[in-house]
Symmetry: C2
């Protein structure tokens, strides 16, 4: 049975300040945990209701369904909850295609964007300091293991773009048509906040404003969901490699 202190510690990890203080984060669900076990991430403790994991015995703790319910961040917990160590920060390599996020707030959006970077072979995702934390349990969940393969960095985006030597793109409501403009293999593409888009300070660092044109009636003034916009942008940059 889990002690009150253990439960308290695990529950504290739903807050960013305790994750940063303890350098630990939560991974839930069998599939996700296996992905992290098979990666360079270091396991702290694995709480599981079934003995199905290949992990060091001294890190595994069998628990009851009732205990799992107590510590889980999910409505319907799935077999196990693991605590991994947050690895040391690695600087972005600044090579190839890089996605930069300006104040993305929704954990589901960040999670699926990490998954998209993994799919399209983007090694580095750089995020403004006020982007949601990638070790947030909902983000980790939505990445489906992709967080083990994409290097997510939090930094002063303004400074980063200033010092970057490759071309800086940004998605806007108006700009070059992404389908007909030339796109290189290298560069940084900035995507903006769900409600406000790319901030003014960052806009001034963008050399090429690109847009995903609307094909329907232009009655709608709404933008696309930022994760879907990222999907389209990555698809469009990568398909050019095939064309060449």
């Amino acid at each position: 049975m889990l002690s009150k202190n253990q439960i308290k510690l695990i529950k504290s990890l739903s807050q960013k300040k305790y994750r940063q203080q303890l350098n630990l984060f939560i991974v839930e669900g069998v599939k996700g945990i296996i992905e992290f076990l098979n990666s360079d991430f270091e396991l702290e403790t694995l709480y599981t209701t079934k003995p199905i994991f290949n992990a060091p015995a001294d890190c595994i703790l069998g628990i009851s369904e009732a205990d799992l319910q107590k510590i889980s961040t999910l409505k319907n917990p799935n077999t196990a909850l693991a605590i991994f160590k947050i690895p040391e920060k690695k600087k972005p390599i600044n090579k190839g295609l890089i996605i930069a996020l300006d104040a993305i707030r929704d954990p589901g959006n960040l999670g699926t964007i990490i998954r998209l970077c993994d799919w399209y072979g983007v090694k580095d995702l750089v995020c403004s300091i006020n982007t949601v934390d990638c070790y947030n349990a909902k983000v980790v969940q939505a990445t489906m293991g992709s967080l083990t393969r994409v290097n997510v960095s939090y930094l002063d985006l303004d400074d980063y773009l200033k010092s970057n030597e490759t071309e800086v793109f940004g998605t806007f409501m108006k700009g070059e048509n992404i389908y007909t403009t030339d796109l290189p293999n290298e560069g940084v593409v900035v995507l903006g906040n769900e409600a406000n888009g790319i901030s003014e300070a960052i806009t001034s660092k963008v050399k090429r404003q690109i847009t995903i044109p609307q094909f329907g009636n232009t009655k709608s003034t709404e933008s696309l969901n930022v994760a879907n916009a990222t999907a389209i942008v990555l698809s469009e940059f990568r398909r050019r490699i095939i064309e060449m």
Copy 2:
């Protein structure tokens, strides 16, 4: 002040069976409500804490913040909650590009897929009976008003595809590379359930299996999020119009 019965009725609309029984659904948030007021949807009642809406006076009811909190489906209610009538079903037109969903369960996914259809000028979205209801409050919220412009039909997908005369595409882990294969302007594209993909029965109706190739290390066996896959598919079909 709202009566207990009014609150009970509004709250009942979070369940599909009551939405279908009463033919009513909820729209929340100023932007979304305005989109529905400006559409063909018929307003039943608008509960608002501020007199900012252009709607028939006998349909508007001023309420307190406390009352809004009681009836809202959101953690942070935004000014108003409106109840609209569910319109009569319209058959899909079966012209142009059509998206078909096989058992999509996540309201956020369906909502952003409706938004994508709107963006890319897809008039008809057809859904298997076991796809999440498009009048679910979370779906309506995620469509950002696009539900007013896309005709969503629930039908026996198997029968529908059998009788369909245009080409039927489906997205799979293996198939024709979407970037290099020929894509027509017309046809139906099927996307499958979040966990299980396209069901066997529906797979047998698909004439052309297409795939979005991975560009990263192929360590990952995971698929893309279904809404992101829809974004890429729509982008790819539509960009061909520009190329021609």
